[in-house]
Symmetry: C4
Subunit: 279 residues, 4 copies
């Protein structure tokens, strides 16, 4: 019985069996919840269909709560969380399980006597119903693999962007603070300017007006945009690579089209895969 529930809840690999229908039902419910969150945010729709949204909310809470409890209960059938109670707790601390919990928790808090004002804030947590979909979205798994493979690159480039952001914002704060004390009022405030400039978004709500500030801002923009484009470039290269490996079945050298003999599948060898990162 417990094993059967576990099988039903885990992501199905064959289309059309019962577990697949459970997946399809849960994915549909998640997507409908996302749609509901978006629709409820629109005043006229919220007012007009308040009743229906409430009923749907109760229904979702019930389903997601049952799902959550069953997942926790059956967790120790997963070899990774084998030990009776410690395994269940360990599973409950994985990101996916936390998303599942946060998706239903706000509903139950009033029973424990929570302040109503805080509760209004907790509707934010509905967004975790969207994040529940990560379990079923292979594309997000792909992102995960890219991040793992390119960990060093990401760490280095985030250190560099953080360093540049602090240096640029500190300099700019000292230069522009006198001229615009309201906009460059502190270094953390100036970092808003820094991020928006270095990502080249440039809303135009904050910008230097002194000649020195403009000179500094121009230099920062030219140099810094290159640094801030690093994580994006690393991610793009890794992503392109991951997909290429998924698609690649042929055993021909990508350069010269000649068959490569006695070489195990490229896709399964991360070392070689990494070697073809020609970006």
């Amino acid at each position: 019985m417990k094993r059967r529930v576990y099988k039903l809840l885990s992501v199905s690999k064959t289309t059309g069996d019962l577990s697949w229908y459970v997946d399809a039902f849960l994915v549909t419910l998640i997507l409908l919840n996302v749609a509901a969150v978006i629709l409820v945010s629109m005043e006229p729709i919220r007012v007009k269909f308040r009743m229906y949204f409430l009923l749907f909310e109760y229904f979702s809470i019930v389903v997601f709560t049952i799902e959550y409890l069953l997942r926790i209960w059956t967790a120790n059938l997963n070899p990774r969380y084998q030990r009776p109670i410690i395994g269940n707790i360990n599973y409950a601390l994985t990101p996916l399980a936390i998303f599942d919990l946060l998706a239903v928790l706000p509903f139950f808090l009033p029973f424990f006597g929570m302040d109503l004002r805080l509760l209004r804030f907790l509707r934010v947590f509905r967004i975790f119903r969207l994040l529940k979909i990560t379990r079923y979205l292979a594309a997000l798994d792909l992102i995960n693999r890219v991040i793992v493979k390119k960990k060093e690159e990401f760490v280095v480039s985030f250190i560099l962007t953080g360093f540049l952001l602090i240096v640029a914002s500190t300099f700019m704060y000292y230069v522009e603070n006198n001229a615009q004390p309201d906009k460059f009022s502190s270094i953390p405030e100036t970092m808003w300017w820094g991020v928006i400039t270095l990502t080249s978004v440039g809303y135009g709500d904050v910008y230097p007006i002194t000649p020195l500030g403009r000179l500094l801002g121009g230099i920062i923009a030219i140099i810094g945009i290159g640094l801030f484009a690093l994580p994006a470039g690393i991610f793009a290269a890794g992503f392109s690579n991951e997909i290429a490996q998924v698609k690649q079945n042929s055993r021909t050298c990508p350069s010269c089209g000649q068959a490569i003999e006695k070489n195990s599948d490229q896709g399964s060898k991360p070392g070689i895969g990494r070697g073809t990162n020609y970006e």
Copy 2:
């Protein structure tokens, strides 16, 4: 006779024959229509040359209508639409044939008793006269081939951008709604902020003002711009590849310059071609 018309209307491969002149005439007429649409949109020109534009409009409608009817009539000479009437209907449902129809349709609707206010809106359809040029523009065919070859990449990256857009906008809506209820009034409204920020356009009409909103906005900008640059990067790599294949006649390995023996033309082998996607 029917076969002759078919040959005349299809895109000519040899410069200077009659079919080529028909192409040239139609392309010229399309380009003049585009010019007319642009010029008519300018108030002073529209007022001054109203008569000439009207005459040109009538002339274009006549030519494009005849062209459309002839194309439909001769469609079943194309092996793909061989069956007598079903073939013609199938052809009429291809994008190119629909563009041809929409390019002339608005003119004939008044005869069927359409509302005048709706008709004014239908002038939008004139833009389909511009889209008629796709038939003759090889560059657009190239885009098409890139999209087909990189289908998986595009699907995955659009799912990711869509997912990120929804998550980012939902979070931002909850965070900024209180401070700016007019600008972050609903999640769909906030998505406008999301798209403009994540594409790094940053008009500056909507931006977060609360500290938490700015922190969230900054993180979204840094991470998200990388994701939103994915489709662009995939397209650029595929485009560069397609053109390289068109240009490549030599049989040398692009890596080491050695001749590759007994290997059929690389350009004609999409599998290998895809293998050289070093991006």
Copy 3:
């Protein structure tokens, strides 16, 4: 004598000979002219040093005029412009010679009775003194080579960007014209919005405000920025390639590091060079 002048004026390949000093003198004079153009544009400096700028202007005009006349006179010593008078005229029509002419022409026009108001406009032509430096700037020659090698890519991508710009602006004009008749007043006017959005500059002076306009604008931004990044990407790849060829002397395969035997220098073989465009 004529041959000697020709040698002196052409770009020297050996440091320290007389021709090199002529080059150095001319380059210095050009750079000083650029500095003068920039400084004169600043009101307080222009007023204070009017006399010095005028003297420097006369001196530059004299030198550049003599330089121009000598270049035209000696042009037919260049094998490409060998024929006595036709060669000289042909040389005078090359971009470099036209830059040389436009750099001095405005000064002489008053002698032919030009309107003073037009003359004030002609100060724009001083910028051609800056463009004279192209003769000596190897980096600009490199750009030229990249453009020649990647001609097809540039032509195709500029056709695509032009096509997208027209389609996007026409749609947006029809959608937003009613809501913002002053900003989206005509299709050419809307193209300003189009360029600033598709290049992701996003000044924020023009943006859609209707829901349909924002939906359309968002889609255009996501798709279009990829297309508009094409020329930049092509140029970057070609540029990187050109420099790599200049630097590359080794005869090893860039992929596997093994020496390539019996293969002439890669750098001198544009065909192979083009083959290594892995971008």
Copy 4:
């Protein structure tokens, strides 16, 4: 004794020895100083904890001064600065030593009778306490190596961007000066527009309004953004390459996965390393 101090101050390679603890202490102190600089910039925090910040400031000054003096004193134990006094002076002129000096100097200037107004400006120098961290941050060393390896590319691309910036700004100044004499008041002023447009930041504080200015601005945006993206692209490629070399231990051809025999380590051969710059 002197040798021992030298060893303690130089960056430790083994975790856990005394020199490592000295490094850890100094890095912590630098990071706390950075935090202090950021926190002090926020009015309420500065007012409330003035005393603590002052005490921490005195403590930091003492430590950093002792550190600086010891580094200068022991500099000639470094083989590069071997000669008794000249070596010490040479070391004192390296960027790292100058950062160390500037990080403490402002504190001591009042003793030499400096104007108080200038002193307030000197708090900018506190930022050099952040720059002291470069000694310990391997990621910054990586940037350095990338810049050295790609020197030619950077020089050429910076010349091109500078050239384009001057030409674009000069043209724009002449075109827009009449219509917006306050915003395009001089060429240096117009360069602010140029940088912000060409980096695609686009704050929206300055933009052309005349039809000719918009046409010119649009062309500059399309062409120029490609050029301004060059340094970023070069840096990204070089960065990606450097990291790949650090990670790469395997001796397989990245193209075809076959082992490469009798070939010394790729990473240590800059020539080959450069050859794999497929960007």
